[in-house]
């Protein structure tokens, strides 16, 4: 554990250092360009001292983002529209809703595909093709069309989350449900076990490692879906709306702060799925093995 924390902290320090350096180079360059356009003299010293204070930095320095984070998380009550926690909550709602429905749908489709040949040959190619439809690109249209039939609020966002998160689950579950040991399949066959028994007593277990790996991808995808769906519905709150307005008003710190909160939220969600996985595997008695 100590070792883990040490590794993580050292990497964290390295990342911050690289970040400062990159900020210096990027913003410094921009600064130099500006000064040269105005035909002003400049020195490296001057550039270095100003690089972390430019108004529209290409890359805000960590402390600038940190200040923005403090301002929008700690200094504001969570009920305030200016609190990032408030917006994270909005995004979280649609993420979780979309994730739950997406995972269920994904598992359902996978079970159908594994158990029914007609479904496999007719549905599978279209499940795959469905993901090549850039839903993110047509998210605004989805929101509009759903709005036309009076579906508004959290549902359209959750639907987009769901659309993104069901696919990894389906693919992994199809593979996982088929990955059970040949010998175990035959064992169940000799018991003339029903499809239900084969599923619940064998395949479900062999699919679990695949399922959890995909749930981690799915929950991250659900978050992305929720955020994307918040873009077109612009002004109604959520981390996506923060990103948009930050971008629209050229407030780079605000974009980065929203990004970091989004990524932190995502990490926490992925971590929670990982935790669930560990608990389950321990119940299966497999973790002590490793």
């Amino acid at each position: 554990m100590k070792q883990k924390i040490f590794s993580f902290v050292s990497l964290f320090i390295i990342v911050i250092a690289i970040w400062y350096l990159a900020a210096l180079i990027m913003n410094g360059n921009q600064l130099i360009n500006n000064l040269e356009r105005k035909n002003q003299e400049w020195t490296y010293q001057q550039v270095i001292s100003q690089a972390y204070e430019v108004k529209r930095p290409m890359l805000p320095a960590p402390h600038q983002v940190g200040q923005e984070l403090i301002k929008s998380i700690i200094d504001k009550p969570v009920t305030s529209k200016r609190s990032l926690i408030f917006h994270a909550q909005i995004t979280l709602n649609s993420t979780l809703l979309g994730f739950v429905f997406g995972s269920l749908l994904g598992i359902l489709i996978a079970v159908g595909i594994v158990n029914n040949k007609t479904l496999e040959s007719s549905l599978m190619p279209w499940v795959i093709a469905s993901q090549t439809i850039p839903i993110l690109a047509i998210a605004p249209m989805v929101v509009v069309v759903l709005g036309a039939i009076n579906i508004t609020g959290v549902i359209p966002k959750a639907i987009i989350s769901m659309y993104l998160s069901f696919f990894p689950v389906t693919i992994a579950m199809v593979k996982g449900l088929r990955s059970s040991d040949k010998l175990h399949e035959e064992l169940m066959h000799t018991y003339s076990a029903s499809a239900k028994d084969i599923f619940w007593k064998l395949r479900w277990y062999s699919a679990q490692p695949y399922l959890f790996a995909s749930l981690k991808v799915a929950i991250a995808a659900a978050l992305v879906g929720a955020i994307v769906a918040e873009l077109p519905t612009g002004a109604q709150g959520g981390l996506g709306a923060r990103l948009l307005s930050g971008s629209y008003y050229g407030q780079t710190e605000q974009i980065w702060a929203a990004l970091i909160v989004a990524a932190t939220l995502g990490s926490i969600l992925v971590w929670l799925v990982g935790l669930a996985e560990k608990v389950l595997l321990r119940r299966r008695g497999e973790l002590t093995h490793a």
Binding site: K117, T118, S121, W126, L136, S179, S247, L259, A263, T264
Partner: protein, 317 residues
Amino acid sequence: MSQSIKNAVYIALILLQVIIVASSEIGFYKSLPLLILVLIAAAFSMAMLLGQLTNLEGKHKSIKVLIPSLFAFMLLLTWESVIKGYAVSPILMPAPSNIFNALINNIPMLWADFKQTYLKAVLAGYIIGCSSGFIVAQWAVRNQALRDALMPLGNFMSAIPIVGIAPIMVMWFGFDWQSKAAVIVVMTFFPMFINTLTGLQSTDALHKDLMHTYAAKKSQIFFKNQLPHALPFIFNALKLNSALALIGAIVAEFFGTPIVGMGFRISTEVGRMNMDLVWATIVVAAIAGSLSYGALALLEKSLLFWHPSYREGNNSR
């Protein structure tokens, strides 16, 4: 009733539906609501036919292609019927026939968009993203400390929403395809990393012991044992990423592009209410995505011939 008579009825019902759609006035479901029953019957018929075809699948290879095609045909027929029958505004949703026309009439433009988005941005980003994910994963699997450090970082990176990255990448890498490739790199890195890592760690305990007794070097363990074990996982990531990459490129084009590209086309034509062209571009994306996926699946099948899910014919079930 014998099966062939039944089948004839099924086919007749489907044809009837085709004729209704092709010859009726727009808005026919509004004037004759009961016509919808024919559509339902046709859908049911198609399901029955598909069920029978599945049973024949072993005999003819071509049926493998026929089934999804017929399925799609029914889907399109339903779509066309609903749009035409209820006179849905083409500004909301175009009918498949309109999309097809738009596709045929704009081939040079769509090709230019495809070149820009797929052949430049997607390929470059995909290759860089997948290979870097793979490389970092195979470092991480050898080094516990690196793994401990990279896992949370990787999780963190993967959770950064693409819509947040895209404007930054446009700012850093310019308007052309390079910024889209950069977005794809960020998007595809983590799925590849996590899958490869999981796969490399999934080696059978016995095989691990075997390599241990050979005092194999890390690189030997890697190439001779871990990598083959990891291949199913790696292909999972490759397939997932092939879809992600396309989406990534298209969405990134919303945040600034030269005026060509599939994402540019979609977002611009929505604004111009040319929904048929929007969907034609989506169709191109879907075809490109499905073809790349299919190619990967074929490659997987040939490399994983030994895997229980692909083993060639034996008599067991």
